[in-house]
Amino acid sequence: MEIIISNSSGIPIYEQIKEQIKAKIISNELKVNELLPSIRSLAKDLRCSVITTKNAYEELVHEGYVINVPSKGFYVAEINDEVVREELLNKIELLLDEAVRIAKLNSVDKKTILEMINILYEEE
């Protein structure tokens, strides 16, 4: 498994780990029931703190991508389309949130934004 951590990207390291593992689960590179590296060995290999990898795994558990089996380890969960769709919608909402924030700050009205979305949607 490859995980690439950037120390200058501004994205928290636990989030980088989380997102990359998630992507590997969605793309099926990590298979259902596969055992993930332990929190400690992953921290060592990525040269990051144990709490950082722990945070990443805990969020993956929370979002339903990974299962924690006490005293055994973390396993890839069986993900259903609903979880993936939820994830996608979250991502879209986050980006829209940013767009709306910028719009409000600069008094761009709702109508203009909706128009923009319409145009973007028609483009293929």
């Binding site: 501004g10 928290p12 060995s41 921290a43 060592k44 040269r47 990051c48 924030r101």
Partner: protein
């Protein structure tokens, strides 16, 4: 079940010109705690109190769930120590040290010790006085690790080491905590070593703990905002921890850069390093 390997509670001590004031922190099992601060901030005094080398302090220190003063011998058996000042006599060689340590520690492991010497490329039969500073440090680290301690206490363990050697040493520290029962207290003013691997950061200044948080809370959430005077004036006092004014800009230390950005829409917010944090906390205005 005991979850903390080390607990320091209200440690206070008065010298003529220096004071430790209610120093408290905890180190859970399997974690690395970075103890940072300027030279003379109280790091070494705190460490020497934990080790019961200085004992005219008030407060309570528990190591492995035991009071450190009442269980001096048992506690020390399971602590590996690297202090800033080298304590081996110059005329000894590493093989002599093996002989001496066998008598000191019940769990001394000669095989492991020689394995570390080899890993660090240290000669076994050369007198210590011929060692470079880096070699001495490595010898101390090898010695500290070779009696299977559960807690490593390291005072400035990487000072005097070149970047490659520092890297090797850090690998060894991370190996050490692969066993979930083992923890490390690492004091340093070289903060870059700690930035990645420390789980907890405790920042001491003038004998007082200024900050005590997880690495992720500090380095992923705190930020330094760079702004103009007009922008600065709009910031509520409660939203800034410290600030510094320079000729061209204001630098403001904030607790949560995401929240701050949402509230104020000031776009230049830098990620912080421990070094920035130390400088801002010490030099910045409250």
């Amino acid at each position: 079940m005991m979850n903390n390997i080390l607990e320091v509670k209200n440690l206070s001590k008065e010298y003529n010109d220096f004071e430790l004031k209610n120093v408290s922190f905890e180190l859970p099992k399997g974690m690395i705690l970075g103890f940072i601060g300027e030279n003379g901030a109280g790091k070494t005094t705190t460490i020497k109190s934990i080790l019961n080398i200085v004992n005219d302090y008030t407060g309570e220190i528990n190591v492995f769930g035991m009071n450190n003063r009442k269980n001096d011998k048992a506690v020390k058996e399971d602590i590996g120590i690297v202090l800033d000042d080298m304590f081996f006599p110059e005329i000894l060689n590493p093989t002599d040290i093996n002989v001496i340590m066998k008598d000191i520690y019940v769990n001394w492991d000669s095989k492991l010790y020689f394995k570390y010497l080899k890993e660090f490329s240290l000669p076994t039969n050369k007198q210590i006085k011929a060692f470079s500073k880096g070699m001495r440090k490595k010898l101390e680290i090898a010695t500290a690790l070779s009696h299977h301690p559960k807690l490593l206490i390291l005072d400035e363990p990487t000072s005097g080491l070149d970047p490659v050697a520092r890297n090797e040493v850090i690998d060894i520290f991370q190996d050490f905590i692969q066993n979930e029962e083992c923890s490390i207290l690492l004091s340093s003013h070289i903060t870059t070593d700690l930035e990645h691997i420390a789980d907890y950061i405790v920042f001491i200044n003038k004998g007082e703990i200024l900050l005590s948080k997880t690495r992720d809370e500090l380095l992923e959430e705190y930020g330094i905002v760079k702004c103009t005077e007009t922008e600065f004036k709009k910031i509520n006092d409660s939203d800034l921890i410290r600030y510094r004014k320079s000729k061209y800009e204001y630098e403001v230390l904030v607790e949560n850069k995401k929240e701050f950005n949402k509230k104020y829409s000031i776009n230049t917010i830098d990620k912080i390093t421990l070094e920035d944090l130390m400088v801002m906390m010490i030099k910045g205005v409250k």
